[in-house]
């Protein structure tokens, strides 16, 4: 049906762009006139809009969680700006999810550190450094012999 100078097929194609607010003023107006006059397209629009809002909400939550983890990590690693520490500590006192995440991350850090420490001190490196020094000395000797012969041959 032609409403607002647009057919339902074209509106169907423009719908996602309309929901994401990517259309220019002229098309936006045309689509909204069409939607007001066409119940079928309006129904489609409400479904798309709902899905879009849900996805947006999820994305926002993930982003917030990432920001929270980033701040807590900075705080625990001693990498946070001094000017930010006070503000952050007041957020920590107010918001339970921050406190919970902080506890979890510090627990995780402790677990990792213990495990890493154990690994580091139980591995046997077979005196690799001695072998390296040997290798270095022989390569140094080889180079001086080569240098000597190149000078000699010249």
């Amino acid at each position: 049906m032609l409403k607002g100078n647009l057919t339902c097929t074209i509106v169907g194609k423009l719908l996602t762009h309309y929901v994401e607010d990517n259309l220019d003023k002229k098309y936006k107006e045309m689509v909204s006139i069409h939607l007001r006059n066409c119940p079928m397209c309006m129904e489609k629009y409400s479904v798309v809009k709902r899905l879009f809002n849900e996805a947006e909400k999820k994305r926002r939550l993930i982003k917030e969680r990432e920001v929270m983890y980033e701040e807590i990590s900075l705080y625990l690693d001693g990498e946070m700006d001094k000017s930010r520490i006070n503000d952050f500590e007041s957020i920590l006192a107010k918001r339970k999810e921050y406190e919970e995440a902080l506890l979890n991350i510090s627990k995780l850090k402790r677990m990792l550190n213990n495990s890493f420490y154990k690994t580091k001190y139980t591995i046997n490196t077979d005196d690799i450094s001695e072998k390296v020094m040997e290798q270095l000395k022989t390569s140094g000797l080889r180079n001086s012999i080569r240098r000597f012969f190149t000078c000699f041959l010249r």
Binding site: E70, S73, S115, T122, I123, I128
Partner: protein, 194 residues
């Protein structure tokens, strides 16, 4: 550890090593060998290749120590070499085709056929604590840049700045990588956290 260098900081050792003190150089690489070994172990390099890889890395460090201009950037520099060497080996491994040869079968008919032992290696035996294995597997599940970043941070205790230098990335990237790696690790290890 040599008692002579007991009180020397890494920077002091680097200064001495740059002035042709071989003993100081040896002490310097001895202090770092376990760090690098463990880093590669968590990066999941093959057990039998780790020793060779560590040797190559430390050789490069020892050979080029004079090229290091600022001793403060030593850890970042060392890790840069580690990363480069690790990925080089991975690339080479992908390029080398697997060779299958039947020659040995004709030569030693009497020799017993050796079955490769895929069970835990001596290193892993020591680490056969369930939790340690869970941690290793969880780190292994992370994608490459996250894995490297979290191992450098937690195992070697590098600062964000040093990690950024070693991985050639910005501080912002390091921050978000650490946060996301921790987020993921926490999910994986959650059942074991008490």
């Amino acid at each position: 550890m040599k008692l002579k260098f007991k009180n020397d900081s890494t920077e002091a050792l680097i200064n001495k090593a740059q002035n042709d003190d071989f003993e100081a150089l040896e002490e310097l690489i001895r202090r770092e060998e376990k760090n690098i070994y463990a880093t590669l172990y968590y990066m999941n390099a093959r057990c039998d290749e780790i020793s060779d890889l560590v040797q190559e890395i430390l050789f490069k460090v020892a050979k080029n120590i004079k090229k290091l201009k600022n001793p403060k950037t030593f850890r970042a520099w060392l890790n840069q070499i580690t990363i480069r060497q690790f990925y080089d080996t991975l690339r080479k491994k992908q390029r080398t085709p697997i060779k299958i040869t039947l020659e040995n079968d004709y030569e030693d008919k009497n020799k017993e056929f050796e079955i490769p032992d895929n069970s835990t290696s001596p290193h892993e035996c020591i680490l056969n604590d369930e939790l340690d294995l869970v941690i290793k597997k969880s780190i292994d599940k992370l994608k490459e840049p996250f894995k490297m970043t979290i191992v450098m941070r937690e195992l070697q205790g590098l600062s964000y700045d040093e990690i950024a230098q070693a991985t050639n990335s910005s501080i912002g990237t390091v921050k978000s990588r650490i946060a996301r790696a921790r987020c993921k690790l926490q999910e994986y290890i959650k059942p074991y956290m008490c």
